[in-house]
Every structure is written in structure tokens, then in C-alpha cells.
């Protein structure tokens, strides 16, 4: 389907290095560094936003200032990083060529940018051969191109950048923005609500099954910028959508802040499948630089029989702080979370999920696999909460950790809170290293130590990888291999 050339391009690159670390030389338009009410107003003005959205941003900003004063950043996660100076960040950076309005067609897009995405393996040309994936490409603070909008439009599907959605579908945005992650939710979500730049918006009308994968590709380019994208996906009654998200950033020795918010809304009988391959720049081997990834992702199964499924492969970022969650409000609704998180060198990941059961007969499944190598620290942190109203709720959780080398750490912190006697919960977890027996077997069959490790890890992560759309699964598997290079032997 979409990207066989992507796979080959990635896999034949030289070993052990971050291959997406190049910088694109485009002229960018920056807002002044630092955060203030004026910056919030400036961002809103640049995007020509309606008054209600500016007010919402300002309300968020004021709340954030209060939070920063009273409680600061959340400190409960098992991550260590130098203090972030929020006044030393560009909150808005946009390629000059994309100034003003969104490009009418690909011909209007800066060729430099097309080349960037081409180089990343994300073709923006609507070639026949690559049909099947509609892409929204986000470069620093703006969406530069969205493909297949016309074909999708014929089915009533809206897939566009967040800024366009604000202009063209303000009712939908106003109705759902902040309905799953309120502006006051947490420190980073509040910051995002004040300064969010761009992101994707998707709306699938009742009864429509989205015929192709929707994909957003996020690229951080400019130095010293933060990326604050906002994604909102709504699946109306009986609709289905599969959404993919990919991300990379250039190789830089200074850290970059990424604080995104993703909100998913599934109405009655609707299903949303959300897959992420997070490959932000992880920092150098010595632990310099890298992206600080503080992301709030949450979906709500609002209607009966709805379903939300999160699948994530986390190989990038110096710091990952991310808990894609599902609120199971509708009766019989289903929440799923499949995750592989890998930390190598000096990466730290504190990631997991929250499943909040409210409706009757709600069901959730959690499969989390953590791999620690080098000096990496990997924490699974999850919550399963069964509210008194959630009759016959069930949850099954499995979270396993694998340790490669003796300088890394693997941690499991599940919170299970049950307030209904009819609930059934099972939680299992294990932590171990790669089995000596398995390694010995493969080595005796002539595999190198590295190949043997890779084969074992591929098998071990299969339960998660198989949840990804096919071409994404291939890429994820390759990515795990590349990310682990140098960790064995």
C-alpha cells in the first residue's frame, strides 16, 4: 500500500544513528521568544481566529500562570530533566512560504518542504500508487498540506488542519474542543490550550466508514521552538476511522519541548483506532538534547457500543510523559491500549494509560511492553478505575518489561481502583532480561547476538505491533531494530 519505499529507505541507512536528524533550510517566521498574554493574542491573530477561541486561549493562559505559580510542573512521574525555561521558547514558528492562507493545492506548497517530507518517506503527492492514506503534514507550527481532502469530502468526511477547521467548521470545533481534555486538565495540557499552533481535525459523519487511513505527520524543524499541536477527532454515530500519527525532529544538542493534546470523541456505535509511531529526536548517545515529549491524549466513548483503541510505538524523545486514556462512558463501550516503549542511551519514558469505566458492561484491555537498554529508564504507569455505576466492567492488563544491559531500569506502577463488586479485573506483569536459553538456541543456529536479540524482541512485541496498520507495522519493527542498535554485545 502506502509506503514500501519508506521502509526500504529507512532500513538501508547506516547503523545506530538517528536518521531523521537533518535540518531543512527554510525561512521561518517566528513570534518573539517567551510566553505572555501578548504572545497568546499574537498566535490567535496570526491564525485569524474568532473571538471565542481567543478567549478560551486567554482563560487557559491565565490558569496556566496560576498553576505555574502554585504547583508547577507535575513531579510524580519517574523522569528527571533540567528545569524548563518557558520564556526561552519560541511558541510560534511557521515557514514563511505558508503565510496567510492554506495552500490551495500541492503546487502552492514550498518545494523545499515537499522535499523534506519526501525525504522522511512521507509522500505528499497524490500518486495513484500510494492511494489509501490521506496525509496532513505539519511543519513546526503550521499544517503545510493535506492530501485527498476532495475524495474524503465526497463522503462528508472532514479532514484538514486544525486552523482550517476553526475557519470552516467552527460549530464542530467549538462543540468538541476541550470536551475531553478540559483547558484546566494538567500543566502541559493547559499550556497547550493557551498556545496550540496547529494539528489535525477529523470528523466522520454518521454511518460512514472512512475508506482510507488518515495520517498526520509532525515535523519539528526550527531550533528553540516548542511544538504544541492539537488534534481533535470525532466519529459520529456508527462511523469508523483509523488514524495514524508520525513524528520526527532534527538532530540538535539543545532540547525541544513538545506538549500536544489529542482529543477523541466516539459517539454511539462509532470506532476510532489511533496509532502512533513516536520518533522524535531522542538525544545524543551521551544524553544531550532530544525532545521533551509531554503529551495529553484522551478519548471518550460517549455513546453505547463505541470503541477507542490506542496503539503506540514509542522509540523517540529524550523524555516521554504520555498516558493515552479512554473514558468508557457509554454502555458496552470498549477501550484498548497497546504500547511498545523503548528507551536506549539516556532516554526516559514514563508512559501508560488510564481506563475510566463509567458505563455498564464496559471492557478494557491493556497490553504494554517496555524495553530498556543503555542507561534508559522505562516506567509503565497506568490506572484502571471502575466507578460504582460500571456494572459488569472487565479489565485485563498485561505489562511486561525487558531489560537489555545492567545500567537501565524498568518500572511498573499500576493503580487499580475498584468501586463496583461486579467488576472483574486482572493485572499481570513481569520483568526479566532476554532469556539466556532463547539466545543460546538462536546463536547455536548461527544468528549473531544482535540478530538473535532482534528476533526475540520482535516476537515479544508482536502482540502490540500486530495492532498497527500493515505498512506502519513494518516501519515500527524496523524502528525498534534501529533504536536498539549498539545496545547489545
Amino acid at each position: 500500500m502506502a509506503t514500501p519505499n519508506t521502509i526500504s529507505r529507512k532500513s538501508d541507512l547506516s547503523a545506530g544513528e538517528y536518521k531523521w536528524g537533518f535540518v531543512t533550510e527554510v525561512e521561518e517566521d517566528f513570534a518573539p521568544k517567551g510566553l505572555s498574554e501578548d504572545i497568546v493574542r499574537l498566535i490567535s491573530a496570526k491564525k485569524d481566529e474568532p473571538e471565542w477561541l481567543l478567549e478560551w486561549r486567554l482563560r487557559s493562559y491565565n490558569h496556566w500562570v496560576k498553576m505555574a505559580k502554585t504547583q508547577g510542573e507535575p513531579t510524580w512521574a519517574k523522569i528527571r530533566y533540567p528545569t524548563i525555561d518557558y520564556n526561552d521558547i519560541y511558541y510560534y514558528a511557521a515557514p514563511k512560504s505558508s503565510q496567510g492562507k492554506a495552500p490551495e493545492s500541492l503546487d502552492d506548497v514550498d518545494p523545499e518542504m515537499l522535499a523534506t517530507f519526501e525525504k522522511l518517506g512521507i509522500p505528499l503527492q497524490e500518486r495513484e500508487k500510494l492511494a489509501g492514506v490521506a496525509i496532513d503534514a505539519v511543519f513546526d507550527s503550521v499544517s503545510v498540506a493535506t492530501t485527498y481532502t476532495k475524495q474524503l469530502g465526497e463522503l462528508g468526511i472532514i479532514f484538514c488542519s486544525f486552523s482550517e477547521a476553526v475557519k470552516n467548521h467552527p460549530d464542530l470545533v467549538q462543540k468538541y474542543l476541550g470536551s475531553v481534555v478540559p483547558y484546566s486538565d494538567n500543566f502541559f495540557a493547559t499550556l497547550n490550550s493557551a498556545v496550540f499552533s496547529d494539528g489535525s481535525f477529523a470528523y466522520i459523519p454518521p454511518g460512514v466508514r472512512c475508506p482510507m487511513e488518515l495520517m498526520t505527520y509532525f515535523r519539528m524543524n526550527a531550533e528553540g521552538t516548542g511544538q504544541f499541536e492539537r488534534t481533535l477527532i470525532i466519529a459520529d454515530k456508527g462511523a469508523y476511522v483509523s488514524y495514524l500519527e508520525g513524528c520526527t525532529a532534527p538532530f540538535r544538542k539543545t532540547s525541544q519541548l513538545h506538549a500536544a493534546v489529542v482529543e477523541l470523541v466516539a459517539l454511539e456505535d462509532a470506532e476510532i483506532k489511533y496509532s502512533t509511531i513516536q520518533n522524535w529526536f531522542p538525544g545524543t548517545k551521551e544524553g544531550e538534547g532530544g525532545v521533551y515529549n509531554f503529551v495529553t491524549k484522551r478519548g471518550i466513548c460517549r455513546g453505547a457500543n463505541s470503541k477507542i483503541s490506542w496503539t503506540q510505538v514509542e522509540t523517540g524523545s529524550a523524555i516521554t510523559w504520555k498516558y493515552p486514556s479512554v473514558i468508557l462512558q457509554g454502555d458496552n463501550s470498549v477501550g484498548e491500549f497497546y504500547s511498545v516503549a523503548l528507551t536506549n542511551n539516556y532516554q526516559q519514558a514514563d508512559t501508560g494509560t488510564k481506563m475510566i469505566h463509567i458505563g455498564k458492561n464496559t471492557k478494557s484491555t491493556i497490553v504494554a511492553k517496555g524495553i530498556s537498554a543503555g542507561h534508559g529508564q522505562n516506567t509503565y504507569r497506568g490506572q484502571v478505575k471502575i466507578m460504582p455505576s460500571a456494572e459488569n466492567a472487565t479489565n485485563h492488563t498485561q505489562c511486561d518489561s525487558l531489560l537489555v544491559g545492567d545500567k537501565c531500569g524498568a518500572h511498573t506502577v499500576p493503580y487499580i481502583e475498584v468501586r463496583n463488586p461486579t467488576a472483574r479485573l486482572e493485572h499481570e506483569a513481569s520483568t526479566s532480561k532476554v532469556s539466556d536459553d532463547q539466545l543460546f538456541y538462536l546463536r547455536s543456529r548461527g544468528l549473531s547476538e544482535e540478530e538473535a536479540h532482534h528476533m526475540i524482541i520482535t516476537g515479544w512485541t508482536r502482540d502490540v505491533i500486530k495492532e498497527l496498520p500493515f505498512e506502519f507495522a513494518m516501519e515500527a519493527s524496523q524502528l525498534l531494530k534501529v533504536s536498539l542498535e549498539g545496545a547489545v554485545g
Binding site: 463488586p421 467488576a423 479485573l425 486482572e426 499481570e428 506483569a429 520483568t431
Partner: protein
């Protein structure tokens, strides 16, 4: 840990009164003062926000300082009352503490040759007491350890000499009497010599119905090859706040096997930590809790694997009914050097009513790669198939339910090796089952 603001003038007054009435040798006086200073600087952890250690436990009532600390035993308790209400056997070595104070009359001296079981006051000059006291339960670790240390007066000191296989269980019985809201700070130090074997029972019983505050601290030191069977029984009344701390230090090849049984109190916290500080140490930490009405049992069980080849097992089970709540917070920390560690952790819960709540958090923190660690937790109703089977065999529902609960609890209760104690615990379980089922839905 986050800290409260209120300090409770009452506690200060009590501290001063103790200092005056019961002066101690310099080293102990200094220790008490350190305890007080730390408690005074941190206060009770009543803060709700960011208070991970007491996330599910509201301690505000303690801050009000309405509990009475008394100096010296004032209320007489008859041996018959103890026999009837507390775990008891005439064959045991027993130290009895009434409202925190040692009762010589009710206690029974050590029966085994060489085994020391004494009140602190009678043991003050013994070197091991000075050496070990407050070394494992340090004053600056928590407000409750600090508070207990500030009120160090009477307490149980047990020493098992090297190579002694003690056949007689040693029972440390802490009783509160009716007629007042007592504040007591029971203290225990057990030092098990090289290759020794012993059984130590700690029990906490209330004879009255008044709200009491019991804040015990127990320290166990296991020298190389030592083995202790530890049994902890908490059966206090429904108004009582029990915040117990146990710290266990294990040398190489030592074995600490603990069974903790708890039912009754308004809040009952069992904060148990074992430190496997030398190769080959092993601990088995089992527990059973039954909660009804508005009770809350909070088990905070943690093990640190500091050296290689350590083994730890945590296995707790609970039955909840009424509007009660139980918390299991298990933690296994495997440090960098602790290769070849094996750890497992399980918490299984039976929830019988809509008002009950279980919060379980079995966590692993691992910094060594050659380890095998696992954990699991479950929560749910009784198995409907089992119930159906029994009903189809003509057993009425109430009896069938009782059998299910009894069977669930027996897995832990039947492990108690000391017969008279096992019978006591089984009796308490039998008495509690009707209460559990009456509040089930």
C-alpha cells in the same frame, strides 16, 4: 512526603509530660528528642495533593489531637479477659502491654534457655538494644516513626541467641482498655542471632469501643542464617486509628516469613518494609484483611533487594463488604547490584458490596537486568460457577457464600504455623463472615 500544617499542641504537652515523669538515660533522651523534632517539623501527612504514601488514606482526625496519652498503666485488666479476647496460650512466652505500659503481672517470662524477652526498662543497659534501636525505623523516614520514637518508654525487647532453635512462640500483646480515647506508641525490637529460629507474634487488641490512636513501630534484625516466623494480628475496634510500621533488616541467607491479619479498625495501616541487605536473603510477606462497615485497611508492603540472590514474595488477600475500603500498595525495588533477584507480588480481592472500594497498586522498580520479577492483582465478585455448583448440590445461598469467603481466607489463615494463634484467627474469621455477608449485596 508532603506535610500538614497543624502540629497538635496536645502532642507537645504529652511529650513534655513524658520527659518529666519518665526520664531516660542520655542516649534514649537524645533519641526521643530527635523523634520529637522531626515530628514537630513535618506533622501528620494529612495533605491530599501529591501525597503518594497516603493517597487513599485520610488522616485528618489524627491532627485534631483528641487522643489521651497516659503515663503508666491505670486500668487493671484481668488475665481471664486476655484469655477470652486476645490470642493466648499458657505455653507461650508473653509480654503484655496495657495502654502502652508493660504489665509484669500479666506477662509470662521467657521459657527457652538463653532467649531474652524483656521490657525496655529492664533491658536498657543491654548493648544490642542501644545498637539497634531506631536504626532501621529511622526517625526521619516518617512522621509516625518519629512520633513513636519521641514517646519511647516501655517496649518489647527480644533477643534470640546464635544457633538457638526456639520452640516457644514469643507473644507481644498490646492492649488498649475501655474508658478513654488512648494514644499509644508500642515499640518492639527483635534481634535474631546467627542461625537461630523463632516465632514472634505481635498482636494489637482493643478491649473498649472508644476511638484510640495506636502507632506501633517494630524493628526486626536478622543476623546471617537467622529465621523468624512473624505473625501480626490487628483486631482493634471500629473507631480506632492504627498506623503500624515494621522495618526488617536481613543479613545473608536469613529468612523472614510474615503473616499479617487485620480486621476491625476505622483505619488500619500496616507499613511493612524488608531490606534484603546481603546475598541469599529471603522474605515471604503474606496477609489477609477483612473489612466491613466503614473500615479501612491499608497495607503498604515493600521490599528492597539491595544485594544479589535475594528472594521476596508478597501475597495479600482481602474480602470487602459494606462501605469499607482496602488499599494494597506493594513495592519491590531491585537495586543495581541485586542481580539474580526473584520477586513476586500478588493482591487478590473479593468485593461483596457496591459500597466497598479496593485500591491496589502492586509496583515494581527494577535497576538490575538479571532478575525475574512478576506481579498480579485481581478484584471481583465470588465465582458464580462455584456458587452455582454448590446451589445445585442443595446448599443454600448463605451457606455457599460463607464457604466461598471461608475458602478464600483459608489460603492465608491456614498458613499460620502456631496452632493456638491459627485457631484464634480462624475464630475471628468465623465471627466476621456473617458481618461481611450481612452487608453484601
Amino acid at each position: 512526603m508532603t506535610l500538614a500544617t497543624a502540629r497538635g499542641e496536645k502532642y507537645l504537652a504529652d511529650f513534655k509530660a513524658l520527659k518529666e515523669a519518665r526520664p531516660a538515660p542520655d542516649w534514649l533522651e537524645e533519641l526521643r528528642q530527635r523523634g520529637w523534632d522531626h515530628f514537630n517539623s513535618v506533622g501528620f501527612p494529612t495533605e491530599r495533593r501529591g501525597n503518594e504514601l497516603f493517597k487513599y488514606t485520610n488522616l485528618t482526625p489524627l491532627d485534631r489531637g483528641t487522643f489521651e496519652f497516659q503515663i503508666g498503666q491505670r486500668v487493671a485488666v484481668s488475665p481471664e479477659t486476655l484469655r477470652e479476647r486476645a490470642p493466648w496460650s499458657d505455653d507461650w512466652t508473653t509480654l503484655v502491654f496495657i495502654d502502652g505500659w508493660y504489665s509484669e503481672g500479666l506477662s509470662r517470662p521467657a521459657a527457652d534457655a538463653g532467649v531474652t524477652a524483656l521490657n525496655f526498662a529492664d533491658a536498657e543497659d543491654r548493648q544490642p538494644l542501644r545498637e539497634h534501636l531506631a536504626r532501621y525505623a529511622t526517625v526521619d523516614e516518617s512522621a509516625f516513626m518519629a512520633l513513636n520514637t519521641a514517646f519511647l518508654a516501655d517496649g518489647a525487647y527480644v533477643r534470640i541467641p546464635d544457633d538457638v532453635q526456639s520452640k516457644t512462640p514469643i507473644h507481644l500483646l498490646f492492649v488498649t482498655t475501655p474508658g478513654g480515647s488512648r494514644a499509644t506508641y508500642p515499640r518492639t525490637l527483635v534481634v535474631a542471632g546467627t542461625n537461630s529460629r523463632s516465632s514472634v507474634i505481635e498482636s494489637y487488641i482493643s478491649l473498649g469501643d472508644e476511638a484510640c490512636f495506636t502507632a506501633p513501630v517494630a524493628e526486626y534484625v536478622l543476623e546471617p542464617g537467622a529465621g523468624i516466623d512473624h505473625l501480626r494480628v490487628l483486631v482493634e475496634n471500629e473507631q480506632t486509628f492504627h498506623i503500624g510500621t515494621t522495618r526488617v533488616y536481613q543479613s545473608n541467607d536469613s529468612t523472614f516469613s510474615s503473616i499479617s491479619f487485620a480486621t476491625g479498625p476505622r483505619i488500619g495501616r500496616n507499613d511493612l518494609h524488608t531490606l534484603l541487605d546481603a546475598p541469599g536473603a529471603e522474605c515471604t510477606l503474606h496477609g489477609l484483611y477483612l473489612t466491613t462497615n466503614r473500615q479501612q485497611i491499608d497495607n503498604h508492603v515493600s521490599t528492597t533487594h539491595a544485594k544479589p540472590h535475594g528472594t521476596s514474595h508478597q501475597f495479600y488477600k482481602g474480602v470487602l463488604s459494606g462501605n469499607s475500603r482496602a488499599v494494597f500498595s506493594g513495592r519491590v525495588l531491585v537495586e543495581k547490584d541485586a542481580q539474580k533477584s526473584v520477586a513476586d507480588q500478588r493482591d487478590l480481592n473479593l468485593i461483596l458490596s457496591h459500597g466497598a472500594e479496593i485500591d491496589t497498586k502492586p509496583s515494581l522498580e527494577i535497576y538490575a537486568d538479571d532478575v525475574k520479577c512478576s506481579h498480579g492483582a485481581t478484584a471481583g465478585h465470588g465465582d458464580p460457577a462455584a456458587l452455582f455448583y454448590m446451589r445445585s448440590r442443595g446448599i443454600d445461598e448463605a451457606t455457599a457464600q460463607a464457604m466461598l469467603v471461608r475458602g478464600f481466607a483459608a489460603e492465608i489463615a491456614d498458613e499460620i504455623g502456631v496452632e493456638a494463634l491459627r485457631e484464634y484467627v480462624q475464630r475471628v474469621i468465623e465471627d466476621t463472615i456473617p458481618l461481611l455477608l450481612a452487608e453484601a449485596d
